[in-house]
Symmetry: C2
Subunit: 433 residues, 2 copies
């Protein structure tokens, strides 16, 4: 799956892409939808390169791309990338190869393409696709057990976790891109021992560190997707913050699962890192010795066992009085119990149709160690043991003015660093806009 676009020696005529700590070197080329901030311009598709955005509409109009790459470039220039996602891996790869050629050092197209760059500092973003459905999984063994220890200490491990990728349908309307400030949600909660619930601002507001995957071509209703084919239905990956109001969740979630506790906002990073860019970072799933073998429909076939991604994930918290974000969590997404391919196959196994642009959340990414817990619920042991921040403040849950910053990147010897940028959001007081 690796090709010349992954060559770590490649450099770009966009100088900022060549810095060793760049999130967006020429080996990355993630897709997003943007416009100049405050311009009122139309939203359109672009590709990140260094600290710039390549504006794909005018770039494609230069006639520099041919055939399938030109068709894909037109789809990638649209205000919603569903058409590009539907086009499938061959088209995605053709566009990537053409962009890699056009953006590399000494490319003859450089002079004309330079006119199509917009500084990222001047850009604003929107959700890059019409997300028909958002599904959120529970794929981290450690998150499952950590949460289980808090909510049902006698039986912390769910009996179905090792057999099926557990999931629920989330809310599409309230997905937004990084940078969204939002009022603390109101909701119904019942205090322990209280006779009646009350309605007011959530007192146990939390983040959840996840990755999200945009679905590519998808399937017709009634036709499942074989697990060996599933990866070809994944377009790319973003960071995802599944903001959660734990007190609303505790009161509402039986018997139908989380609803108002999570549907007020979900934040994603604006750049979609393609599966092809992530190919060097595919790795095997950790199989615990005691885990049963998967049922056949979920068993990764020979040659497809490397279905996890070794993505480094980090959460930092900036409070109203701190000068900079303070790290809370660092974690690799390779510790998934279930791969995105298995989640997709399970999702379609009953005939449910997945459409281009659907979003799949991984569920909170947590590991066995304290600095690998992907939400405050786990870090503070259900709020019982507030954590101490480097600046001396304590947190059990988020306070007004707190900004959560998630970052992600891939590193491996012999390959260029591939970054995701950041996924950020700030809690405002209830009622603020």
């Amino acid at each position: 799956m690796l090709n010349t676009t992954h060559d770590p020696q490649l450099t770009s005529w966009v100088a900022s892409a060549n810095r060793p700590d760049a999130d967006f070197p020429i080996q990355n080329l993630p897709h997003g939808v943007f416009r100049r901030r405050g311009s009122g311009e139309a939203w359109r598709g672009g590709v990140a390169i260094g600290d710039q955005v390549l504006d794909l509409g005018p770039a494609a109009a230069l006639g520099l791309f041919d055939g399938l790459a030109a068709e894909a470039a037109a789809l990638a220039a649209a205000p919603q990338l569903n058409g590009l996602m539907a086009a499938g891996p061959v088209a995605w790869s053709a566009l990537r190869a053409a962009l890699s050629q056009a953006l590399r050092e000494r490319a003859p197209q450089a002079a004309r393409l330079r006119e199509c760059l917009v500084p990222q500092a001047d850009a604003e973003h929107t959700v890059p696709a019409q997300i028909g459905d958002f599904t959120d999984f529970l794929a981290s063994y450690d998150h499952m057990v950590n949460a289980g220890r808090i909510f049902q200490p006698a039986h912390p491990e769910l009996p179905n976790f090792r057999w099926l990728p557990i999931a629920y349908h989330g809310r599409s309307s309230s997905i937004d891109v990084s940078g969204t400030d939002f009022p603390r949600p109101l909701g119904q909660t019942r205090a322990p021992g209280a006779a009646a619930p009350s309605f007011g601002p959530s007192q146990r507001l939390d983040y959840e560190l996840e990755i999200g995957a945009f679905v590519g071509p998808g399937n017709v209703r009634g036709r499942p997707i074989a697990v060996g084919d599933a990866q070809a239905h994944l377009f790319g990956i973003v960071l995802l913050n599944d903001w959660s109001a734990r007190d609303l969740q505790a009161w509402e979630a039986l018997p139908l699962g989380p609803f108002m506790a999570k549907n007020f906002l979900t934040t994603i990073s604006p750049w979609i890192v393609t599966l092809e860019a992530l190919a060097p970072f595919l790795c095997g799933l950790p199989r615990r010795a005691e885990a049963p073998e998967e049922l056949p429909y979920l068993r990764l076939p020979p040659g497809r066992e490397h279905a996890a991604f070794d993505i480094q994930l980090e959460v930092a918290l900036q409070t109203a009085t701190s000068a900079a974000p303070m790290p809370l969590t660092r974690r690799s997404a390779r510790h998934f119990h279930w791969s995105l391919a298995q989640m997709l196959t399970h999702h379609a196994s009953n005939g449910c149709n997945l459409r281009p642009g659907d979003l799949i959340g991984s569920g909170t990414q947590s590991g066995p160690n304290d600095d690998e817990k992907g939400c405050l619920l786990e870090l503070s042991h259900g709020g019982q043991r507030p954590i101490r921040l480097p600046n001396g403040e304590e947190r059990a849950f988020l306070e007004d003015g707190d900004t959560v910053v998630m970052r992600g990147w891939c590193e491996r010897d012999g390959f260029a660093r591939i970054g995701f940028g950041e996924c950020r959001g700030t809690v405002l007081p209830s009622g603020a806009h």
Copy 2:
């Protein structure tokens, strides 16, 4: 809220609309999206009148409508009705008044409009809006208790039911209109006492009798909807069958709720009966003596207490060997514990944004009597006591070849009958298309 369009004396120049048992008299005028069956024509909006569809595109092109009614007619002629839903009650009402004028006996427009009729027998339908999000509630006290007696006999009543409208997010992609045949879904189940689950066709396939409401203008994220204003955000109502695989549900649903058990298909009736057509059938919610008073944000203000709809609902089953559908259930939707207005207000109370075209399901409609149970799970007491059909067959759950037919209508002395048409679907063997 009643006006001359509700006058029971009104008759139409479309003679079939004047039959006393017509679902679609001139007092109804429901909206849908259709084309001539098998024609490959473009989908477009129409209004049902008697056994005909008024094709709104050509009708509007005749220049018979003015001002707001003309604007609304253009939106109602579109292949997706989201624009009409966004336009709000004043526009909906203007269009209804204009259609009522144009379709009534001796209307001067009759001769020209007659050219815009398509027989319903020649029409096929599609989902009438882009459904951004589908939310399914649990609003029937009797369904909650009946299901509770099966799943947790020691505590059949959920402690949160009387305080909040319980709901979960459903699947948008697999919503389809009446007439869809579908293969029995496959899925993971675990037999009682088995050490491991298995994967195969669901053995406990069920229907659920619901009504669905399409959201009108909706709200901006972060801005709740006051319960006194909520009804103005409801465009209209359809019948809804929330097909459910009970064996998949039992294995997967803890802790995140139903997922694969329900997302393989949801069927709706093709005609959306508007809130204005249903105005004569508004009625109060039954308040059980022991129910607590609602929290203030859910309390219907004076003058808005009539928030339930007295809709007669019926389920019939036609088997592979029966000559006609056999009635299973008859029920009025007035027995809701929560009104659609309260569901909507609760849904937006945390700032979650509802968009035009979103679909709200009521949850299974059941009553206290055996012939008022809205699904086979309840009728057969969890499969323990199969029901005997009039033709001698027995059913615990659905068998291949079974067709479920739901019908709904409103009747009240002094008003025309308002019908919903039917919502129908047939179970095919697993793997069939």
